[in-house]
Amino acid sequence: MRPAIAPLHALTLWTALACAACGDDSTPTGPRAIDPAAERGGSTESRRGAWFTDVSRQAGLDFTHDAGMTDERHLPETMGAGAVLADLDADGDLDLYLVQSGPVPVQGTRTAPATNRLYLNDGSGRFEEATARSGAAAHDGYGMGVVAGDVDADGDLDLFVTNWGPDVLLLNDGRAAFEAADAPNLADPRWTTGATFFDADGDDDLDLFVTGYVHFDPHDPIWCGEREPGYRSYCHPDTYDGIPDRFYRNDGRGVFSEATAAAGLATPPDAPGKGLGVIAGDFDGDGSLDLYVANDSVANRLWINRGDGTFEDGTLLSGTGVNGRGMTEAGMGLATGDVDGDGDIDLFVTNFDDESNTLYRNEGGGLFSDGTVAAGLEAPSRRPVGFGTVLFDADADGDLDLAVANGHIIHNVELYDDGKTHAQVAQFFVNDGGGVFAEATAAAGDLSARPVVGRGLYAGDLDGDGDPDLLLTECNGPARLLRNDGPPGGRAGESLHLDGLPAGTRVVATTTGGRRLVREAGTQVSYLGGSSSGVILGLGTSGDAVRRLELLVPGREGRDLELSPARARGRLRFLDGPDGLRLP
């Protein structure tokens, strides 16, 4: 039902996303926070005693997202875009691919083409821009998201880019030069957003799921907001009809065929969802990968894999469609991980202001409960608008900490609610080991030093020093590379990295100290992108070490590995061949 729209209707200042924007120079009030350091691309030195340090400039990262702002306030301008941390040139370190949006494709014209950008890591966290030689990766669609995976099983990572407009599959030649796949069925012209590669049917290739957001016609703009200069704003997603998600099955050679209905993933016509993110994970512990879709302002959806690559809607039973009070929430960013150390995969979703972010605790058997309050995450997240999020072991103590990128949608929200701001501070929370988080934003250094219109947030060891760093993207602003300098005044623990595991591999690590760490390999999607797909096992500072690994790849028999001697640091790179996983 499309509600009657009065000039003011859109500006609902609670859960409703009435207006959305990403920075606008023409706003009469509410200027964005200006920071000279930010303008230079990062601070020149780390903050003393701060956890994260902005090293964008010295790392060579100089990407600024262009939302292509217009006076018509087109909803896509609010979304920001994603990025992926992945080894695109197969040299053993994490490179960066950042999605650009650029001029809004209104009336069929685009001025000043803006392309996605590729940065190759030299191994030490210094990046060289390689867009010019990346071939088709210099893609100039109005970009939304990106996901990386080896879709043609040739040993290198390919990319799939979602756009407001035709999507594109980019095939890697192994040296980070890409060509667009001849795959017209993947060039979905609708407004797609999140995507994930995952092995749906256990046949050792990567299938593809893509979320559809809303039907939006830029040639039929709706006025939302007061009809006074400077007050026009963005319309709530409720104004628009949702569009269904799509699933594509891989034939093993990187050729995809649409199989949404055949896989049981079709949504009802009257409830297609408004997908902003999707993440794969074994949520019911049966060895096959399920899917969780975050839908904006309507119920999220959990698709349970029957084990054969067909799915059934497990949302109702699971309790993950709405929050614990039965209310739908916005649903933007996603992260999964064993938050409470009980051996199963929990789920974290970021939401809008006047809603909290929601932690769904896995209770086993496909059932979840809203554990947000018990985790200490309710009150701190009610005011900010949460987007990209990562569960990552920031201090290598063996549990998963949490970071959230925040930033409003409404560029002129201060005009409508003086208690809200467009730019917002990212938040950082430290896990006590049992799934209770204490906010540590004040100690997060440059991650939270100033308000930004945060969107993507991705984790990975970018400088090769063993701990996970962060990449923070901003809507209509600069991307920031944040080096993890460890807990202020303390020291991070040791960690063992596992690379090369197939996406979705369940890892159970038993330590000499008797701990069991459960992780899933594969890309954490955050918002519109992907963190590093490797696994980092934090072992603390007390000399603990990993002595045994249980590895369960979807669709295969489990594999146990005894490590002798036990490993407390370094990197294990797995090879996956005809005989399964092995260490060289």
């Binding site: 200042l13 614990g324 209310m327 208690g419």
Partner: protein, 382 residues
Amino acid sequence: MLFAGLVLAAWPSGASAVQGAPLAFSAAPRAVAAIVAGQTDDTRPDSAHSAGRSTTDVSSWEALWRTGHRRDAIAAMTQALAARPQDDELRADLAAAQLAVHQVEAALATAEALGPEHDRLRATALYILARYDEAIPVLDEDALDEALMLIDALEALGRLDEADAASARAGRRHGEEHVRLLCYRARRASQAGDLALAVELFTRARDLDPVDVGALYGLGRALVRSDRREEGLALLEQHRRLVPLVDAYDFARRAVDLDPSHASNHAAVAAAEHALGLLEAADEHFRLATRLAQPAELAPVVLRHARMLVDAHGDIDGAVTLLQDAWTRHPDARLMVRAGDLLMNAGRASDAVPRYERALALRPTDNQIVQRLQRAREDAAR
């Protein structure tokens, strides 16, 4: 409607309360309360004129508020307060007005100079800003809405023992049978593993308000976890169907919150209430929308209202009367076409004929009206 309803329409009651705290701001300053009452009612309230305040002051900003110029009303009040900074009543009025338009920080600043008798304003503003640690000491448990805010704030902070105690006090003070209180206690019971109690409490909440999504959802989940899976899934399915309707209702109510002077906003609320089966409320909102409607808005509003009367009550005569009254106010061919159609469907072709004739007089070249009229005449002649 008290000013409270506007100020805290950001906190819609019942199922859609975001943080579970419906608010009845019954302690609103008199003048502001009168402003709100005047806004939705043609009767100008006498209490608009406070002692010591000029008629011009109050009437000017009241008029501004009533006509939807709320920022201008606030500006006028701010100017007046600058001239009379010791006028606590005016200050409280201004703070309440600022809250109503989501100038929460400003409201807090305005209220700073007020005495403890105005703690309600401060507490509300702090709560809205999620500054729970500051709000908690100032919330007055003697007021049900503030008691609910207190429980919610404590729960959000994870201070669950305190929230439990506050809930118990609220039950003793205000009675146990309140949807929000019951749902809170039920959630806690569920968390403690006492599913039987959770089922009982959620059931009572649901019986009080069948469209409360929290009660319905909580009951469904509790039943599923109690091994009454099929029962629970049936309720969860019901909840799934209900939620979009409640969301639409929420959304529409917030539009009214932002501008209560627009007929289409009230019509949207009415439509949402209709969808939820809240027929009395829907009828009220449709009538309000009709009163507020500008000429161009009138027909769409009345057409929807008429449809509701027919769909929900089978009240064709009532619907035709609505359409006729609207026609009298502002002729629109659609009104008479609809009236004619309703009468034709009821087998009253002879009554339909004059309606179609009136419509045709306005749109003489409209073939669809011509055809309708012809058919009605033929049926009437038989």
